[in-house]
Point group: C2
Chain length 190, copies 2
């Protein structure tokens, strides 16, 4: 596979710290289907690394076992496109570690851009952010699970992407769908 | 909920006739997560009806039980946004029946537009199709599961939407992701 397919845009799916239904800060469970779906979408749009972020050892092992099965196990032969999709998927214990990993790979600190369903004071639109991307430099796009990213994560980000507005006022997209839409808006028709 | 949120664009997720991995025509299994994800995305973009198409009685019952749980069961209270997302989701035994249902609701036959991962002779681009949508009139957007829609379905459609090209040559998106991207391209920024 050609390394040139991959861009300097990376993605993190965060399972801690996120909110639960009642507003408490929790560790959410990894959904294996998120790992597959988001890996495929990342591969389609040539995203660099896809980090599955969880501090729980057992959950880290689950993701490693899943990825290992499709990269090296029986799955690699059974479904090669699934293998290809998972080549850049890795599990990591914190968002800080994901930032450090990108920094090490890219040679400079990434611009950290968080996403979410609510408008924020430091929100940036898609048109503006596409222009920002033209400048190059590493970017880490951050998605939350559960009921969304803990507020300090959002406050400390370099940018917050505008929420996806459909046309109905209903904004409860699954994270898998939000990733697909956002990568298409940012990278799909350049 | 305001009825005006809904457009004259409807969506069908087809489980028969579709191909399996080896190119045989089969009935694929309903994935409950498809029903939830696609219902949410449809609701976000104000899609009219979302038809889950399967000829299998047991699978129809599965979808009806799922929808019933969230509309009328304990789920309606536990998660009202899930309820709202599923209000326009229904199961139906064939694509012909879905076309007939839209025809009855809308008073005219819908324009049937199929999607898929391969370029076709009668493919239409997103820009052109958005213009087509401006004219009004009912539209039924058709998505396949498994390894894609049986070829006669594609041949007999009024239009075939261009496949989603990311920027990497890899085109193995999950159907949940394809629905999200296509609805956003067609309805997201008008």
């Amino acid at each position: 596979m050609d390394k040139a397919h991959y861009s300097n845009i990376h993605l993190a799916l965060v399972h801690f710290p996120v909110y639960n239904k009642t507003g408490e800060v929790v560790v959410s469970s990894v959904t294996t289907l998120d790992v597959h779906d988001i890996s495929r979408v990342c591969r389609t749009y040539g995203v660099g690394a896809f980090y599955v972020v969880t501090p729980l050892k057992t959950q880290q092992e689950l993701v490693e076992r899943l990825v290992g099965h499709w990269l090296k196990g029986h799955g690699a032969e059974y479904n090669p496109t699934r293998k290809e999709a998972l080549l850049k998927t890795r599990v990591i214990k914190s968002l800080e570690d994901a930032v450090a990993d990108v920094t090490e790979q890219a040679g400079e600190k990434p611009c950290v851009v968080v996403t979410g369903a609510k408008q924020q004071p430091n929100s940036i639109g898609y048109e503006n952010f596409r222009e920002q991307l033209q400048k190059g430099g590493p970017v880490l796009l951050v998605f939350g699970t559960g009921w969304g990213l803990e507020k300090n994560l959002t406050r400390n980000a370099d940018y917050v992407l505008e929420p996806i507005e459909g046309n109905s006022g209903f904004n409860h997209l699954p994270v898998r769908g939000a990733v697909a839409i956002i990568l298409d808006r940012l990278l799909g028709r350049s």
